[in-house]
């Protein structure tokens, strides 16, 4: 009996010591690793300018947290889960990185979240689209911040169906993200009384969309929807404009479109397209003020991903400050308990599955006559409240939620 008592006491003591050790910042340094596509397809929407946003957050925080240094390392993941995994493993195991930020390609985020969990470190996903990141792939070690495919379908698809777009033809990028988005769109369109009359899966990437646009035109569908991203989407929109898709009475719905994409297309080709976004730089005084500072630093207007990286880094540093710890679970708990109120989100909150829920926006690209400058691109048509936008916890397959 005494033996058991002794064991128990020492176990409790050890646990307390571990707990005590956690309540401080390791190595007197908070080290953040920024991992993103710095040179490929997703470079402009996240990339080097995302790093600039992260550095802005650190500078605005004062460069130090509770007297501890804040250090940043960064790397190009080349959109490869393999490259990303080995980089993050090195960072966590040899270089004392406490938090990994950026995380753009969904495949990269899913691979990295496993390594974060193994090492009990924290990751904040800001660029990825796949809603599975906080559904079947959720872990207690990462947070998904800016947006995902669920609100993209909820926002754009439901708006377009309600405006009378009953029959749909979907051009889908033939890989995991495209399939996920197509599935989410099908659900929303059918729930709202619409019908999918055809889908076409195109290779990723596709430089020439003329053949696919021709098939979409011939289908006679009310809506031609693009379940793809980046250059595939801009190429498809350009070709649709060349072949007169909207002039012949069909609606074009781009399900994932970033500010940088619309800027590259120009309002001439993109006018009237509806899209869902997590943030837009020209929404109010606060967003404009931040976007001005960002533009001074980078020369461009920020995407929702850039703004999200700034906001999430702030939320992270505040949590480290409040708890005086950089231990993943301590910080994550504090981040979840603190509502997010900044230039990115109002009353945003991080749920137990790691999803940051906040209002999303349905935007429409301005016409050349309405647009007053090269970055004056969107009209915000509608605010989609957080509860309506994101997958409800009742539908979640995340073990952190279902095991409760």
């Amino acid at each position: 009996m005494t033996m058991i008592k002794k064991l128990l006491t020492s176990a409790v003591a050890t646990a307390m010591m571990v707990g005590g050790a956690q309540a401080e910042i390791s190595n007197d340094t908070v080290k953040i690793g920024y991992l993103a596509d710095m040179s490929g397809t997703y470079r402009d929407l996240a990339g080097p300018n995302g790093l600039a946003a992260l550095e802005m957050a650190i500078a605005d925080f004062g460069g130090k947290v509770n007297g501890a240094k804040i250090e940043v390392v960064s790397a190009d993941d080349r959109n490869s889960p393999d490259v990303a995994s080995s980089t993050v493993r090195r960072w966590l195991e040899n270089e004392n990185v406490d938090m990994v930020a950026g995380l753009v390609a969904s495949s990269v985020s899913i691979a990295v979240s496993d390594i974060l969990q193994e090492n009990d470190k924290l990751g904040i996903v800001s660029g990825s689209a796949a809603s599975s990141i906080t559904n079947e792939h959720c872990t207690p070690n990462h947070i998904h911040y800016v947006y995902d495919t669920y609100p993209l379908a909820n926002g754009t698809a439901s708006a377009v169906v309600k405006e009378g777009g009953k029959t749909w033809y979907i051009l889908t990028a033939d890989y995991a993200f495209g399939h996920a988005l197509e599935g989410d769109v099908r659900r929303v369109v059918e729930a709202n009384g619409g019908e999918i009359i055809g889908t076409l899966r195109h290779p990723f990437p596709t430089p020439d969309f003329s053949s696919f646009i021709l098939q979409a035109q011939a289908s006679g569908a009310d809506v031609v929807a693009l379940a793809n991203a980046g250059s595939d989407t801009t190429n498809a929109i350009n070709t649709a404009s060349e072949f007169g898709v909207t002039q012949s009475g069909q609606t074009l719905a781009a399900l994932l479109l970033f500010l940088t994409d619309v800027h590259a297309l120009g309002v001439e080709a993109a006018q009237g397209i509806q899209l869902t976004t997590g943030w837009y730089w020209d929404m109010n005084e606060e967003t404009r003020a931040w976007a001005d500072r960002f533009m001074e630093k980078t020369g461009v207007r920020p995407t929702m991903v850039h703004a999200g990286i700034y906001s999430s880094t702030m939320q992270y540093l505040k949590a480290v400050d409040a708890t005086d710890s950089d231990a993943a679970q301590v910080v994550r708990k504090q981040m979840m308990e603190t509502p997010i109120n900044d230039m990115f989100a109002k009353n945003g909150r991080i749920r137990e599955d790691g999803r940051m829920v906040h209002d999303m926006y349905l935007a429409e690209v301005k016409t050349p006559a309405e647009s007053k400058g090269e970055w004056d691109l969107y009209d915000i048509v509608r605010t989609i409240p957080a509860e309506e936008a994101f997958r409800p916890l009742s539908e979640s397959k995340c073990p952190l939620v279902t095991s409760k």
Partner: protein, 295 residues
């Protein structure tokens, strides 16, 4: 409406036409590659980068100097061609006569450098280029809507292809070129400046790529990575046609455009692979390509 394998005839007709248009693009690009390989024995992996430079310089010339499409059609290929001559003079000349793999690696490195530098400056989202006003709109053919610009592309591409073939195969200049690369010492004995001829030939091949780039600028996203996507396809076209065969490159280019277009109609996910499938089958039965001379 009559159907073929579940596809309406009208849709099929549209796809065939689009296939020919894209094929004209492939023909133009593979023609440049075939000229460079056929005459100089250089495997030019920088060809995609030169195509991209053609498109990028069209946009940059317009943004910076207000040079319009019609002028760019001449100026951009000349500028990029001159750049090609510089590369030939300072780099490729040093590995002349070495194994093909050296030219492949060297030009691949050049392509990576050019792509990297431009990505850093211009990003990857793409530069905007408006179509010239005369080409706005298109004609209704009954089975499809055909943009005027695509018609222009096919006419111009075919003209250039035919002109190049004619020059190399049927004129005296072409004869010098072919002879100069076969036996340069003999030709130098006749007082012909063979090194200059080689520089100019490389420059000309590069010009063809840049010209295709100018044609592409109004219809595709102009980005520093646009060349890398198309390069491998074009190489496959050249291999199928027979490395170095000028006529083979042109005919195969158009043929592959059509085959790809049909695949996009009947089974779209295979459309990026179908050309390679054809390549495998052709190489199994004719190792030197459809129009290549037996080795």
């Amino acid at each position: 409406m009559s159907m073929i394998f579940g596809v309406p005839l009208a849709v099929l007709a549209g796809q065939l036409l689009i296939g020919v248009i894209n094929g004209a693009f492939y023909a133009l690009l593979s023609l440049g590659l075939a000229v460079i390989f056929g005459l100089l024995k250089i495997i030019n992996f920088a060809h995609g980068a030169m195509y991209m430079l053609g498109a990028m310089s069209t946009v940059i010339l317009f943004d910076a100097l207000g040079i319009n499409y019609w002028v760019a059609l001449f100026v951009a290929p000349l500028l990029v061609g001159a750049f090609g001559v510089v590369i030939e003079y300072f780099l490729l000349r040093r590995i002349a006569g070495q194994d093909h793999i050296y030219s492949l690696l060297l030009t691949f490195g050049v392509a990576l450098l050019i792509g990297g530098v431009l990505t850093n400056i211009y990003g990857v989202s793409g530069l905007r280029y408006s179509m010239p006003d005369v080409f706005q709109g298109g004609m209704k053919l009954g089975f499809m809507f055909l943009p005027y610009y695509r018609v222009w592309v096919i006419v111009l591409a075919l003209l250039i292809c035919f002109g190049t073939w004619f020059m190399i195969e049927k004129t005296k200049l072409g004869a010098y070129l072919r002879a100069g690369t076969e036996d340069s010492q003999l030709m130098q004995g006749f007082g012909i400046n063979v090194p200059l001829l080689i520089s100019l030939t490389y420059g000309f091949g590069v010009m063809l790529a840049a010209f295709a780039g100018v044609l592409a600028a109004p219809i595709y996203s102009v980005t520093p990575v646009m060349g890398s996507h198309i390069l491998i396809t074009v190489f496959a076209v050249v291999v199928i046609g027979g490395m170095g065969s000028i006529g083979g490159a042109i005919i195969t280019g158009i043929l592959m455009g059509v085959i790809e277009g049909l695949t996009k109609t009947f089974y779209p996910p295979a459309s990026s692979a179908v050309i390679f499938l054809v390549m495998v089958v052709v190489l199994m039965f004719r190792p030197s390509g459809l129009f290549g001379k037996e080795a």
